[in-house]
């Protein structure tokens, strides 16, 4: 019985992240539009877009290979699994020990690997430029992420996110290393989600684009699945930041349904706050040139490294 309940809660987490992800995107678009004094599309627009795209036929380029057709599903599946493994409303979920934070980072790496390959499949200049730049950013963002994971893991004594969240609830103190990790993680999150100082999610057909260039040849259900995966990734990063740096309200292992319901409510609240802050930052800043980005992400790498180094020097930082 306990096992069935545990699996049900885990299933609820998987469904929850999937259901909330497009809503988060819709919310950020709405807030951004309002900040720019535009009306903006309704919050539910991404759900409608997905519904519309899914029902359309997929147009494939003449020389698209099996990789091009299967990559969207693999990207979606790896991102979804990664997002489902980050504690959102409850810690200690049944399968949370299946992968720690390093493995979650690597899962996102798998998704990126397939996305970059899909961008190169047709052999257009745009796809190549997107893949090349995405991999460039990843060469700095991924080690930055690993260094941030190190910092957090050295503070909490574990790379297991459930344990980290539980530790942060119980022993939350202001620490220099965690501050560095937070700034680094925000930079990585902005980079990985192709947000404004790095890339612009709202534009198509600009030479500066990265993510949109890779998915340019996709249409119909394939595009829908990729957009859903991108939304899941945004949700993953916000819930990751929330789980490590603001875990309050999250249901603990052994808590009842009431605490879990409260956890869901606080989680939605955290998503809204996180999305709002991100859009506020995006609106206030201009997009960078591509070759400024390595300096920006390299900053995250240095911050993460500094945090780790401080903790190697003394556990009290």
């Amino acid at each position: 019985m306990g096992l069935i309940l545990a699996i049900l809660v885990q299933g609820a987490q998987m469904v929850l992240v999937l259901a909330l992800a497009p809503g988060l995107v819709g919310f950020t678009r709405k807030v951004k539009a309002r900040l720019l004094r535009r009306q903006g599309p309704p919050i539910l627009q991404p759900y409608r877009d997905l519904y519309r795209l899914v029902r359309k036929e997929a147009v494939l380029a003449d020389n698209a290979s099996w990789l091009f057709r299967n990559a969207p599903y693999l990207i979606f599946a790896t991102t979804w699994v990664a997002a489902a493994l980050v504690p959102t409303f409850a810690t200690g979920l049944h399968f949370s020990w299946a992968a720690d934070l390093i493995a979650i980072t690597a899962l996102l790496g798998s998704a990126r690997f397939f996305l970059a390959l899909a961008g190169m499949d047709i052999g257009t200049a745009f796809g190549g430029i997107g893949s090349s730049r995405e991999m460039l950013f990843a060469t700095l963002a991924e080690p930055a992420m690993i260094m941030i994971v190190f910092t957090v893991a050295l503070v909490a004594g574990s790379t297991q996110l459930s344990t980290v969240a539980a530790f942060m609830v119980d022993h939350a103190t202001l620490r220099v290393s965690l501050g560095l990790a937070l700034i680094g993680l925000i930079i990585v999150a902005l980079t990985e989600n192709a947000r404004v100082p790095v890339d612009n999610p709202a534009t198509h057909l600009e030479l500066t684009m990265v993510h949109e260039a890779m998915v340019l040849e996709y249409s119909g259900r394939h595009l829908a699945v990729i957009e859903l995966a991108a939304a899941l990734k945004l949700l993953l990063y916000i819930s990751l930041i929330a789980c490590i740096f603001a875990p309050w309200g999250i249901a603990r292992q052994g808590d009842g349904l009431l605490e879990m319901a409260f956890g869901v409510v606080t989680f939605v609240g955290k998503l809204a706050v996180g999305g709002f802050l991100m859009v506020l930052f995006e609106t206030a800043i201009a997009k960078m040139r591509v070759f400024r980005v390595p300096e920006f992400v390299g900053g995250a790498l240095m911050l993460g490294f500094l945090g780790t180094l401080l903790l190697f020097v003394s556990r009290s930082f």
């Binding site: 190169m120 991999m135 297991q160 057909l205």
Partner: protein
Amino acid sequence: MPIAAALLSVAGLAGVAVAAPILTARRVRWATPAVYGASLVFSAVLLVCGLFGLLGGSAYWGGVRLPVGLPWVGANFAIDPLSAAFLIIVNLGAVVASFYAVGYGAHEEEPGRVLPFYPAFLAGMNLVVLAADAFSFLVAWEFMSLSSWALVMAHHHDPENRRAGYVYLLMASFGTLMLLLAFGLLAGPDGGYAFAAIRAAGHAPWLSGLVLILMLLGAGSKAGLVPLHVWLPLAHPAAPSHVSALMSGVMTKVAVYGFIRVVFDLAGQPAWWWAVVVLILGAASAVLGVLHAVLQRDLKRLLAYSTVENIGIVFIGLGLGLAFKTNDMAGAAALAVTAAIFHAFNHSLFKSLLFFGAGNVLTGAGERDIEKLGGLIHRMPETAYLFLGGCLAISALPPLNGFVSEWLILQAILISPELPQWALRFLVPASGAMLALAAALAAACFVRAFGITFLSRPRSPAAETAHEVGRWQLRAMYALIAICLVAGIFPGPFLDALSPASQLLVGGAMPKQPILPHLAIIPISESRSSYSGFLVFFFILMASWAAIRVIHNFASRAVRRAPPWDCGFPDPSPQTQYTADSFAQPIRRVFGPIAFRAKVTQTMPPPGDTAPARLTLSLRDLVWEFVYEPLEGAVLYAAERLNVLQFLTIRSYLSLVFAALVLLLVLVATWA
């Protein structure tokens, strides 16, 4: 006794090596399958010996002493858990490479230049792993070096290959010289060359330290540690592809074995600065290797540079192992060493797989330059699929095996704040950052390698008319990808199997990996970290299956083929695609100024002038410039100066001999 069976199989391989030239000289038609088939059988026996030695427990360990070699030592051979582990690595690679070669070798133009040396090479590698005294070790090592040199020179008509062979021969002799000195120091003036005698004798700390440096030079030059890696990217691509796979995937592991055997087993208790040296060299190899790899156009050379990277990762693990061992943290040391050996095993699998893939491309399209390939996924679908698997594994992506070993090394790094030495506390996180950087660059490197070679549109007629290769080659690759997947999703039994080896090396073992729940691996304790490749694999499979089923059943499954969109202006010329160089350009621009002193100069003609604009790029290999060129200069300078000695009179020679004699006598008199 596995050791007897193992030695008989090695003798069998030697017999094949002797028989092969007779077969090829008589132009026997079945020479190629016969030689590779016999090599396969003998390697399989050796593989079974290794499996018994590692899994069967102490009943299968033990050694023999043959009455050859040095009269007072004999030739000692033994199987213990460490040699058994590497026996498995060597012979798994050998079995699959022999299988591959049954098909691939049929394309060989001059089989007489490959067939005799191939079994000799296998025999040499096996003897190194089995040797239990310094003399047999060195003889086997030299045998391995020379037979592989002959294989590098198989296609000697190409001047590049001749140069590769020359550089390789130089580096190999240098390495053996260093090993000779290392073993000489360990054996002492009494000549106790048997490993048992070396292990029993105590060694002064300065002597052990010197042995470490000599081993880093000797075994490191064979393994491809920076700055001794320069021969790898020349020699590995020059050999036929199945031999490239063995040299890159397996022979470098034999060098790692030699390093582990001497430094962890024979040289006594390590000092903490050993870890510093090994970590620095490992981290430098990992990053420099992959930075070179990401810029290469030659597919096989790219793979050879990536070997440098992976050897660097193995050495980071070994350096961590040394750091923990010197501080008596047996559990942590066991984790680091097990991770290093597991990564060596994993790398032997996916590197062989990738070299086989490169061999297929070479057979199918006749081209190694990735700038002239493209679109092979349509014409070589199975090779593309298998090569993609290798790329995923080597880029350390879950759920494949490369991720597991790198994850374990990262976990070992997370224990190291408990180390008391300050130098190590600064160095270990830095090497962790380098490891993460290398892994991310490797992903970029293999996206580029796969994307340019197999995806996009063909860039040359050769790529347009490529064809799939035969069944032998593909089946060998299927076997490798299957083992990669199994090691990735069920890593627990592999780690358990390595525990006697880590017990031997550092006096501790990783905790026994639980079968339940759900096959997760636990490096230290469950609350710290765990990873279940099986569950991750299962979830990915289920999630993608569910997505496909739901969308296909309830939405649309219609597909229409159309010309590419490309923002409305698709250009039919394949020239407009991204090339390998343009893909690597951003990475070169970011890392190039530091790693290669990259300089780009553009000359634009003034407006109205019709002269072409020029872009020149200069990349400098700093290792060549700062290590090898000064060395070459010094050797030439010394040779010039000493040249005078060739033209002396007989009187001068006699007086020189006399002076040398007096000098030596004075030295002996003052020291003794």
